[in-house]
Amino acid sequence: MAFISPTILALRRDPRLLKLPPYLSALCIFIGVVWLCLLPLNEYSRHTYISENALLPGQVHTYFGGSEQNVFNAYKYEIQALVGKDQKAIYEKLSDIFESANLRPARQKYEYHAAGTTYSGENVYAILHAPRGDATEAIVLVAAWTNMDGDLNQSGVALALALARYFKRWSLWSKDIIILITGDSRAGPQAWVDAYHDEHTSFFVAPLPLKSGALQGVVVIDNALDHRFESLHIVYDGINGQLPNLDLFNTAVSIASGQLGIGVSLQRMWKHNDSYQERLQTMLRGMVSQGLGYSSGPHSSFIPYHVDAITLQAVGDGWQDEMAMGRCVESIFRSLNNLLEHFHQSFFFYLLMQADRFVSIGTYLPSAMLVAVNFTIMAIALWIRSGRPPAPKVASTMPEKEKTEMEIVQKDGMTAITPKENLTILERQLFLPVALVVSLHFLGVIPLYVFINSSRNTLPSCFLLFTFLNLILPTVLATSIRRHTPLTPQHHLLLQSISLLVLGMFLATLATLNFSLSLFIGLLSTPLTFTGNPFSSSVDAKDVFPSNARKYISTLVLQLLSPPVVVWAVCYIWGADLGETLAEAAFGWKVNGLWTQVVVWCVWWPAWMIGGVLVN
């Protein structure tokens, strides 16, 4: 140690060290991306396993079948007959069916307003009391009346009702079973779970007349098909990228594929033959869905309440009938019934790349962290530079070396002679940069507010207007600032430093909460690290202000990667309607408590705006 430290101390003043950060930042980004691409390899991902021993998936014999098929068929006819009827008729029929199974039905009305649209409906549910239970724990079986695509979930609802009748006969349930038929797939479950925890806004969402204990697990049945299905598609993403415990997913996979021989797919990867590309694609799809954080099914609303939930969706045309799906649900419920504790054993942070392969947070987190760290490194470098006076002019014609001015320093009774250059500290003019960064972060509230509260019809035009405004806003801002106070090179450095510091800090924090969102925002903002002049070593105007060519390229890159342009591009690539997407986001904010747009408008957009001001 003792031999190394003087070397390091000597290096501290080395001008070469200040040239290093841009390369280091680029290296961080590069390693971060490569790291992500390595994850699907066998060496870096792991086979899934059941961590909670109590679950014992697939260890029970399932009996759902036989004459239950006739009951199921009858319920399906009843539900098909209800198409186009009003809520009252639906409630009456459902409560009839619940009552015939000796279950007491209850209903809950809800109404949400988002993006100028009203989402209203009614949830009908019944609680099957655990025969020997004491109402402390419950598991929920959900079937939405219409699924995520808006189709009538005919087989799903009929199956839930038939299962309710079948479950009632068993005496082995240790937890209450709540059979919930929600009005739709997004607002209904949210209204129900909010009211269950008394977190609803009572003006629009009615309280629940019947309640049970703590929710331990949720399984959603989604089967809108009128024919036999081929495989089960398991959807597991929650709001804001939160995920259910991996044990629940594993239980479903091991029961479906291991016990019942039903194929399992995830993230809409209908064909998956375990190649590297397909693993990577599955993982990236999972990350996109996690990053956007929207509701991907009725189960999504439960996850923020720390209730683990998944959706089983029947897909394809094959030879599996609804009874097989019913047996799958039965077996999952028997496993959940075994649980002594709340799900806690397995991972809550993971990326799945196949039904039986995953990477855990310890393995994937460095990727997003490295991307976030690149901003911090650059921010620190810029801070140091902002305090360094310009290098003394080196006379080109005079070969003789000017003598360095020395100064005598006395401290603690000791005396030392040091070059004067090392001792001069340039005072940092902090007010303007800090004020600008803070105010821009608060200004992010304006687009956030506008896009949340506009109606569905005005959203596309609003967004178009905003995109054009956003195009010229950095220039306008830069000129208006310059008109009042000239931006010194130090201001430039400090502005970029503080902005990058805040961005790096936000993204590093976000990486632990929503890895994918942090990574995507991080990658989209990487140009911000290299705008301005990343190779300057002090507050020298020549060093700091980039050349014109560089300026134009930077401006072009920044404009191409501005938040509104990225939104347009994403909508174009996925073939999504822009208005629809924005209305979705507004709905997510109002109903589900979706935070993605907050990150976009209050973290990414201000950082981008400062980058734009700097290149102008």
Binding site: N73, D134, A135, T136, S171
Partner: protein, 598 residues
């Protein structure tokens, strides 16, 4: 013949009153619509205080009696309860809720002592002894789980002598305790016939613990007549259970509820799709029919204490069902029907198995269930690991009269309620009404020493629902304080509600009190990952080892300036070596010289 039996019966009833045997047992069967059956077993025994104090035990079991005497317990109430009473379908609770406890084990007793501390010491003695007797974790009722209710319980003993001033009421609950066969066996052993004969022979663990709701109760109390001439000790053992008739009728060797063959399905043939492999079930209201042997697995094995002259009077089976229903009893039995037309009783024959059959022939009618005078449900609100809230809905179904009751809650110390957030409002309004909570008794918790005790005197107006809410904080426990399976959460004992007699009807104080208990709650607390302590231990050990190594190194090593070290200078080393060599050579040569000189 019928008239004769009536005369005989009245004679017998007269005898029953006059003879007043010291032991009685009664089984009350009440079919509940649609497919449940409430079976209430009651065993009553009696002994004079004199004989009890002289340790002369006959029907009162010696094992329990001696424990009570040792712990100076005047009155004891012990409850083992599992499941939940579904008052929406089953109506009011049996015995007015006085013979049931909250989920798990509940115990309260009046103990004679000189002081609070003395009473607690005796209470601990009592708990430890009962814990051994009933194979229950009663010894875990420590100071944090013990409360001293003020308004909720009144002594059932009709004694108010001078010593009552030194009586202390203590109450404890174990909501997490699982009630099972090991508690039933000692319970049955306290009976004179040990469950071998009489109605107790129906108490089979398989059936009792398959019930939808079940409660076992033991009450011991001192009863004195008005003139205090001859006090006696009364003990009552009660078992109530609600059986699911369909489930109980399943044969024991084939208990799995497989789907029934499709040809046996009861289908609604009026549906347009009927028959097309689709069957809309229409079997909901088929009524119920059973035999005692079907439901309980065996018939009643004769009468308990058959040799006793009063045996015919001691035990009887009653079934609460309208007279138009056909009930057949097999064996040499005497049947009594009550005048109201709602129940009939049978005396159990002395030594023969006895069987009752509720026939499926005839109208499937049931007695109307009496509606409970209050519905109570309690649940947690909010989520997260830091704080939460409790919400209790109290509904008064009566359209004419308001209802007053005592709401008693004990909370564990790690659930810290904020009393200022306690509010009661009508469900129809959003503001707090001050006249709902009339009196509050609050004893705050002390960390790790005692729990919160909250007793409220609440009044609910007619035909309305009161919402009682308060907020609480969750404490963080030390990691050794977590129980096994810590992630399950912590059980919070049910609230006890004691209904007070209607206002202006004070004279009816003598009428039996009515109790209601809410279900227990599961409180999730912030729980550490229990692999964490080991990681922490490993990490801290490593850091400690490194720190120790460095400091030790610094302390033990002698530091010398680089210029002070001569030995390692090459020139010095050379010079030194040369000097040594010279000295050596000198010695050798010098000696030689000397020799030469010599």
């Amino acid at each position: 013949m019928k008239r004769f039996s009536c005369i005989l019966l009245s004679l017998l009833l007269g005898l029953l009153v006059s003879a007043d045997p010291d032991y009685k047992e009664l089984l009350n069967l009440q079919p509940l619509n649609p497919a449940s059956l409430l079976a209430s077993f009651n065993f009553w025994s009696n002994a004079s205080l004199q004989s009890y104090e002289q340790q002369h035990f006959k029907y009162i079991p010696r094992s329990l009696g001696q424990i009570l005497q040792h712990a100076k317990t005047r009155e004891l109430h012990l409850r083992f309860t599992t499941g939940r009473w579904d008052d929406e379908s089953w109506g009011a609770r049996p015995w007015g809720g006085t013979k049931e406890g909250g989920t798990g084990v509940e115990l309260w007793a009046w103990v004679e002592a000189d002081s609070d501390a003395g009473s607690f010491a005796r209470w601990v003695t009592l708990n430890n002894a009962l814990s051994g007797l009933f194979c229950a974790s009663l010894n875990f009722i420590d100071s944090t789980r013990t409360t001293r209710p003020r308004m909720t319980f009144d002594p059932a003993s009709s004694v108010t002598d001078a010593s009552s001033e030194s009586l202390f009421l203590l109450h404890g609950t174990l909501p997490r305790e699982v009630v099972c066969t090991e508690n039933l066996t000692p319970f049955l052993k306290l009976l004179p016939c040990k469950g071998k004969a009489g109605i107790a022979s129906l108490l089979d663990g398989h059936k009792l613990f398959d019930a939808s709701w079940q409660s076992m109760a033991i009450d011991v109390r001192l009863v004195c007549p008005e003139d205090r001439s001859e006090c006696s000790i009364e003990m009552e053992q009660t078992v109530d259970m609600v059986l699911d008739v369909d489930r109980s009728k399943r044969p024991r060797d084939n208990p799995i509820p497989r789907p029934i063959p499709s040809e046996n399905l009861q289908c609604d043939q009026s549906k347009p799709y009927a028959g097309n492999e689709a069957c809309y079930p229409s079997d909901a209201n088929l009524g119920q029919s059973w035999t005692v042997a079907e439901i309980f697995g065996r018939p009643i094995q004769g009468s308990c204490l058959a040799g006793d002259p009063h045996s015919q009077l001691r035990d009887s089976v009653c079934i609460n069902i309208p007279h138009e229903r056909e009930v057949n009893a097999y064996g040499d039995v005497v049947e009594t029907k009550n005048a109201a037309g709602t129940s009939r009783c049978f005396a159990i024959p002395a030594s023969k198995p006895f069987e009752i059959v509720l026939s499926h022939i005839g109208p499937q009618t049931f007695n109307d269930v009496s509606q409970p005078s209050l519905h109570a449900s309690r649940s947690f609100t909010g989520h997260g690991q830091e704080r939460g809230g409790v919400q209790t809905l109290l509904t008064n179904p009566s359209t004419t009269s308001s209802i007053e009751f005592v709401y008693f809650e004990t909370l564990p110390w790690f659930m810290k309620p904020y009393l200022h957030t306690l509010s009661a409002r009508l469900a129809t309004s959003s503001t707090t009404s001050p006249d709902i909570i009339q009196e509050t008794f609050y004893r705050p918790a002390l960390d790790r020493r005692r729990g919160t005790q909250l007793e409220l005197l609440v009044s609910v107006p007619a035909d309305s629902t009161v919402i009682l809410t308060y907020d609480f904080d969750k404490a963080i426990l030390r990691y050794t304080e977590y129980p096994p399976d810590a992630n399950r959460g912590f059980d919070v004992a049910p609230a006890v509600i004691r209904l007070l007699p209607p206002f202006g009807n004070e004279s009816s104080n003598s009428q039996a009190p009515v109790y209601i208990r809410t279900s227990s709650l599961l409180l999730p607390l912030p729980t550490p990952d229990f692999s964490m302590p080991y990681n922490v231990i490993i990490l801290t050990s490593t850091v400690m080892a490194l720190a120790f190594g460095m400091i030790f190194n610094l302390l033990v090593r002698r530091f010398v300036g680089a210029d002070e070290v001569e030995g390692w200078n090459l020139a010095a080393l050379k010079a030194k070596a040369r000097g040594r060599v010279t000295v050596l050579l000198d010695k050798l040569l010098g000696k030689g010289k000397e020799k030469k000189i010599q």
